[in-house]
């Protein structure tokens, strides 16, 4: 008998029963909530006179609408203030722990879950946010849900789901200098398409993945959804365990670590696990990848020519043509040299401490180009504090970056951090959709954090491998 995947094992451990629809009722081990997608769910609960079933397995923070400049209350934006007040009331009434700005633990939900030790291998984790796939980096089964499903989870601690297929994506070899996790995931999406993962959960494996730090694995799992896969994961290993051991939770509860580790080991995919599909990518051949279009699948190596729409599969040609018109790029050109107006270093994809360290290594001793406004939005208050202690804030500010408070910020432009007009943005975030960063004429170029730093100082998309890295950091 062949073995199982992590997905099979975690699924089986959490399956409560089969529903009349044929779906499985799956137990939820951690429910993360934020201010944008939860208020309607609490409203639905109230209408039905239901209580939160497992408040102790639920954790809240505020990230999407929170201002990253002036955070004094009431917020300047009435709508934001109303959403924050609603969340405060809901979590208070239900007895849900809240990492609010006063706690010093606030941040992007997919940054705070891991750093607080809430995210663990073998848990089922849901959140009303598609980038919940991030938590798969720890070997959790984690996926985004809609508001009606949030209601289900609040009311029952469970969710109705159909089991998916598993595709193993093996990234072999050693990533070349200057190539990081973000480049790997952009390349995966470029090859498999934005809908290639529909119906699949992605298991990321192979030497290039195993040698990544946890933050790199999070960047990869984070963008699974951009490839159409609702969840993606990496099997837990020593890198995972060492990272977890350093979290406050496990430092305070070392006995929990010892108690849980056998479970974590038990849910790893077996060597003889069967996969529904296997894709192999040679990591040693990659170069920094940037997007030229308006979907995350429209990426290209920074020195490679932008493809002609007619050379793409028929179903991609129209979208590509529209995207090239919007971005004002021509087939045959490279993205190297594409002028930018804004540099955004932030988001649940790339705003953790090592991301900021890597970018700082490029920024150190250089200045932001005079035509560029550049900002750093740390992923959480804890990340911000750690970065400040290391002197990274100083490095960024000395170079002319704006250093802001934690939040989703310009990744989706729900607070005041937005593109204006047709500004072009070098962004470490995850989506380059038209209008995503707050202006419908805005142009987003996705890239890794070091590439964002390089673009900020050069005023154009720049191959970071051509710049010398300062000593403040180890390389990717």
């Amino acid at each position: 008998m062949s073995g199982g995947t992590l997905y099979d094992k975690v699924w089986d451990r959490h399956a409560v029963t089969e529903l009349p629809t044929g779906q499985t009722q799956l137990f939820v081990g951690l429910h993360l909530i934020h201010e944008v997608t939860s208020p309607q769910a609490f409203g639905m609960l109230e209408e039905r006179d239901m209580e939160v079933a497992y408040p102790e397995l639920t954790h809240a923070t505020v990230d999407h609408i929170v201002p990253t400049a002036d955070q004094s209350r009431p917020y300047a934006d009435d709508a934001a203030e109303r959403m924050m007040a609603e969340l405060e009331e809901n979590v208070h009434d239900a007895g849900i722990e809240f990492s609010d700005p006063e706690s010093g633990n606030q941040g992007i939900v997919h940054v705070i879950g891991p750093e607080q030790g809430l995210t663990q291998p073998g848990k089922t984790i849901v959140c009303g946010d598609s980038h919940t796939s991030t938590h798969g980096a720890f070997g959790a089964l984690a996926f985004g849900i809609g508001t009606s499903q949030i209601r289900d989870v609040l009311a029952t601690g469970t969710i109705a789901m159909e089991k998916k297929d598993v595709r193993k994506i093996e990234v072999t070899g050693e990533l070349p200098d200057g190539v990081g996790a973000k480049d790997v995931i952009l390349e995966i999406i470029r090859r498999l398409g934005t809908d290639g993962g529909v119906g699949y959960v992605y298991e990321y494996a192979g030497g290039a993945i195993e040698s990544l730090d946890m933050e790199g694995r999070m960047s990869i799992c984070n963008m699974s959804i951009e490839g159409g896969a609702r969840a993606g994961y990496v099997n837990p290993d020593e890198t995972t365990y060492e990272w977890l051991q350093e979290t406050e939770y496990f430092r305070e509860h070392p006995e929990k670590f010892d108690e849980l580790k056998p479970y974590w080991e038990s849910i790893r995919s077996d060597d003889d696990a069967e996969y529904d599909d296997v894709v192999t990518i040679d990591g040693s051949e990659l170069e920094p990848v940037v997007t030229w279009g308006t979907t995350p699948g429209q990426g290209v190596g920074v020195t490679q020519p932008i493809p002609a729409p007619e050379d793409l599969p028929a179903d991609k040609a129209d979208t590509a043509r529209r995207a090239q018109e919007h971005m004002r790029v021509e087939p045959g050109e490279t993205m190297d040299g594409y002028p930018i107006d804004v540099a955004f270093l932030g988001s649940c994809t790339n705003a953790r401490l090592p991301d900021l360290r890597r970018a700082a290594g490029i920024v150190e001793g250089r200045e932001v180009h005079p035509d560029v406004r550049a900002m750093v939005v740390p992923g959480s208050q804890r990340v911000a504090r750690a970065a400040e202690e290391e002197g990274l804030r100083e490095t960024f500010e000395a170079a002319g970056f704006d250093w802001r408070n934690a939040g989703c910020s310009m990744c989706l432009g729900m607070n005041e951090d937005q593109l204006e007009g047709d500004e072009a943005c070098a962004s470490s975030s995850n989506r380059n959709f038209v209008g995503r960063q707050g202006s419908k004429d805005g142009r987003t170029v996705l890239m890794n954090p070091r590439m964002v730093a390089a673009a900020a100082v050069e005023g154009e998309v720049t191959d970071v491998r051509d710049l010398e890295t300062a000593e403040v950091v180890a390389d990717d």
């Binding site: 934006d77 073998g122 598609s130 809609g146 209008g435």
Partner: protein
């Protein structure tokens, strides 16, 4: 049903005139831009459906089927591949439903979007590219013509034509048997849920 809410509705078929919204990879940021999500209820979202595709900076109407009078009463949207990709925001289908959409026919749908539609009782049925484009063309010619989406039989009928489409098994069962509102259904299994929780090493049970 198991709850005081009374029996959930069944959605065996949806009939109404159509509206074609063409293009692959139409993401939820297009369906409802994030700035309209600064709300604590879903009420009133309908007017913001595809807002930036429908209006320019000065609020002048742009070319978009949702701006055309002939499609104003449509209840069946016909789309292409990977519709609803991107964010998990239920605001997207909520906005479409509030605009008047009761069913969507497409080549393919992003998973979270389709799940959100199901939670609202909105079928997302799929056909191949040719089938879908033929329906879109027909709707363009017959904006007042009825499209009949038969969820149980997995067919779409327009004019004299009936074509086979696919409805995901769980979705079909849920809609046809009226069990798409899963809260009450799952709440009834609270005892089993407790047992599962107790079996997990990371859940501290009192």
């Amino acid at each position: 049903m198991t709850d005081s809410d009374g029996p959930a509705e069944t959605v065996e078929r949806v009939s109404g005139s159509g509206i074609p919204v063409r293009g692959n990879d139409i993401d939820t940021d297009q369906i409802i831009p994030a700035r309209f999500m600064k709300v604590v209820t879903f009420d009133g979202l309908g007017q913001f459906s595809f807002f930036d595709q429908r209006f320019d900076d000065d609020d002048n109407e742009k070319d978009h089927p949702m701006n055309e009078d002939r499609f104003r009463d449509a209840s069946v949207m016909v789309v292409n591949a990977n519709f609803g990709c991107g964010s998990s925001r239920e605001h997207a289908p909520q906005a479409l439903v509030r605009w008047g959409i009761d069913a969507i026919i497409g080549e393919s749908f992003a998973e979270i979007f389709a799940g959100n539609c199901l939670a609202l009782g909105v079928p997302t049925v799929t056909g191949d590219a040719e089938t879908v484009e033929a329906i879109q063309d027909w709707v363009d010619e017959h904006p007042d013509g009825d499209i009949d989406v038969d969820v149980a039989a997995e067919t779409v009928t327009y004019g004299d034509t009936t074509v086979d489409v696919t409805v995901d098994d769980a979705q079909r069962k849920a809609l046809v048997e009226g069990v798409w509102d899963t809260t009450a259904l799952m709440k009834a299994n609270a005892g089993e849920v407790e047992k599962t929780a107790a079996s997990l090493p990371y859940v501290d049970t009192a």
